[in-house]
């Protein structure tokens, strides 16, 4: 798998489209076990990201994603703002100086992103957070190489799997056992991130 700077820009734009489209569902998921703003937070943040990167030109993919990250950090707030922001900030470090990402380079970015989420939020696999999507996606990429299609499938499966879990981090954790039976909103927004990747990659390839 190879991702050009153009495709990487499309990815950011497509994430925005997906967040707008699923805004209500994201907020409904958050309302069930959190405070009901995840859709608004994501929609607000990625709308700004799209505005920012759409007509901008960047020296490299690292610079582009640094801009994505700082926009998220300064526009989202809540828990998801610093988490997604830190994820893309760490990835942008890994992508610094590159105008094309091969499977290995892309995976390095995702690995750095997961590290960022872990350090920032101190959650672990199974805590019913976005990490429950990001960690399996990373693991698979590390083992089998980056594959956008597969990443989207894994993300979907793992987001679904958060339904049965009891939340240990974030607002949903306050509900204890009552958090069971609902999908984690951050896991679903993470699924959308990887679905967006699969879509733009596929369109580019065809």
């Amino acid at each position: 798998m190879e991702l050009s700077a153009a495709v990487m820009k499309q990815w950011a734009l497509r994430i925005n489209e997906k967040m707008q489209e699923h805004k209500d569902k994201l907020s409904e998921l958050d309302q069930a076990i959190g405070d009901g703003d995840h859709g608004h937070n994501m929609a607000r943040g990625f709308r700004e990201v799209a505005n920012k990167v759409e007509d901008a030109s960047y020296d490299d993919i690292g610079a582009m994603y640094k801009d994505v990250a700082s926009t998220l950090i300064s526009k989202v707030g809540g828990a998801s703002g610093p988490l997604y922001g830190t994820a893309f900030l760490k990835a942008s470090n890994a992508w610094k100086g590159r105008d094309m990402l091969d499977s290995e380079a892309f995976t390095e970015g995702i690995e750095a992103a997961v590290g960022g989420i872990e350090t920032r939020g101190k959650a672990s696999l199974g805590d019913k957070t976005m990490l429950d999507v990001w960690i399996p996606v990373r693991d698979e990429m590390k083992e089998h190489g980056a594959d956008a299609e597969k990443a989207a499938k894994t993300a979907e499966k793992e987001a679904e799997a958060t339904i049965d879990k009891v939340a240990k981090k974030g607002r949903a954790s306050y509900l204890g056992e009552r958090s069971k039976g609902h999908m984690d909103p951050g896991a679903f927004s993470s699924q959308l991130v990887f679905e967006a990747l699969a879509e733009v990659y596929k369109e580019e390839a065809s």
Binding site: S27, I73, G77
Partner: protein, 322 residues
Amino acid sequence: MKKLINGVDQIVSEMVEGLVAAHPDKLRLIENTNVIVRADAPVQGKVALISGGGSGHEPAHAGYVGEGLLDAAVSGEVFTSPTPDQVLEAIKAVDSGSGVLLIVKNYSGDVMNFDMAADLAEAEDITVKQVVIRDDVAISNPDDRRGVAGTTLVHMIAGAAAAEGKSLDEVEAIAQGVADNVRSMGVSLSPCTVPASGKPGFTLDENEMEIGTGIHGEQGVERRELMQADAVTEELVQHVLDDMHLNDGTDVALMINGQGATPLMELYIVARKAIQLLKDRGIHVKKTFVGEYMTSLEMTGCSVTILNLDEERKRLLLSGRE
């Protein structure tokens, strides 16, 4: 959703504009932000205090900006932690060189955003300390506890300490002392509606209540049959005391906090019982607060907060601002 607003997107900016317009002699808004600072900030030689978080908790946090209290408050979207750049703006506006203390409620979002802001400030050579408030005993694991109404007692006591000219380390230690000795527990009779979503956070039957609710319109830890005020109060007070191990004769402050739509009349009925219960247990209530200090939009219900007072906290609280 029936609200006196103009549009969901303008709520926070219009609210902070209104607050500053109402008190132009005392407050100032930092342009292009939702940061409210004391009109005379930075106050030379004084440690600066900053609090903040999502909006919807009024009068917290911007209502506590003023002499003897906070130097700045940072307002995020409704129930959404503010971003690090806004917190950084606040830090830069209030630091007089004596350092800044961030008063942070223990939510993933608040902790992370304030943390990032502190990092950014340190990079600009401003000394920043943080105290994280976790007073909500509804959550059993102390590390995971939310910061709720007890946070406002930190504003008051640390605010009084800073006004006395204490150093950053001293103010931090005092704030941490409050944080370590304050406990709260809440109950809700009806939910609130986050404007952006337009729908109530949960629904309750006419005879149900949620015990152990936080301040973001989320459900509590348990749904129960509605009880009379005295029984509800006993439940809340007992839960808080069980976590405190107070000796006979201990001095405390008591706060009966309304969640936004509870008539003051009902809060006084709760206060009456809470004071009786503490008296029966040989605990001395030195100061009682009854009213709205940390709300959840138009939620109905209340929380009980008890703070163990050592001599210093007692002196600062009784001499300070509310």
